[in-house]
Symmetry: C2
Subunit: 153 residues, 2 copies
Amino acid sequence: MEARIEKIKQSLQSKGYKLTPQREATVRVLLENEEDHLSAEDVFMLVKDKAPEIGLATVYRTLELLSELHVVEKMNFGDGVARYDLRSESNHHHHHHLICVQCGAVDEIMEDWLTPLEERLEREYQFKVLDHRLDFQGICHRCKDKALPPEAE
Amino acid sequence: MEARIEKIKQSLQSKGYKLTPQREATVRVLLENEEDHLSAEDVFMLVKDKAPEIGLATVYRTLELLSELHVVEKMNFGDGVARYDLRSESNHHHHHHLICVQCGAVDEIMEDWLTPLEERLEREYQFKVLDHRLDFQGICHRCKDKALPPEAE
DNA sequence: CTGTCTGCAAAGACTTTGCACCACG
DNA sequence: CGTGGTGCAAAGTCTTTGCAGACAG
């Protein structure tokens, strides 16, 4: 964890930015909640525990900055809030999301299933793929286990 | 086209809603721009040509309504605006997007490449897939043709 | 000092809601 | 006349920006 912070610090410094206490607290929150997809507000509330004086604007600015540095990825699941995901170490960041329409949970699958498709896209559509995103909406295993009675939407 | 409007009219009526002139104008705009992914504002401006007295709120309400009826799909490409897509006739709406990071164009591919993956998800992750979404970010063929000089981001 | 970074509050962008009025059965 | 629908304006939500002060080199 310290090593990852150190690395992020270097990313920042290489572009002339500093790892201020607020930024460090924000990064720590992201590291500690790597599995989740936190909104800015989520991050803000968690950071407040570490650095109560921080302002929401700083969190937004930090997330924006980390996003530019490709340390985090800003994403959008259609609920009207931006969510932020720490990018994995690997050069490609190909994880996919399982979004449960019942409980709202977002799980990740780390497998990369799309390489053959990307090759096909470049060949058949002349589209140079830089990144992709694959989300599935459905019912997660937890909700399936709960075996809720079927109900009309 | 008239046939599709008629169908949508029936969808509305089956739930007790009416196809008012404003709604019809909105639907027509969507039909005429099926290839694009219009934002509410886009739709509003186009509808104004047909029905100048319409209000933006009505467009939002109509799009929301059509969304509930699964006539359109509300989506989000991460630029902070909701975009609306007419759903295709087929029961599954599996199109994928090619989003150009250079010019912002969004093209569609209608092929459905994911059925095997969905089966695997259900088997291995116990996740019941209801829908999915697959977007690729990259450089579209038009921008590639322009052969812009490579530049560091 | 010089430039970056911060908190706060104000402004902004997009969307939703409240309300009085309209239209149609 | 009752229900849904509308336009307008106001309110809401999420995010960005302006600004004066803090802080580090």
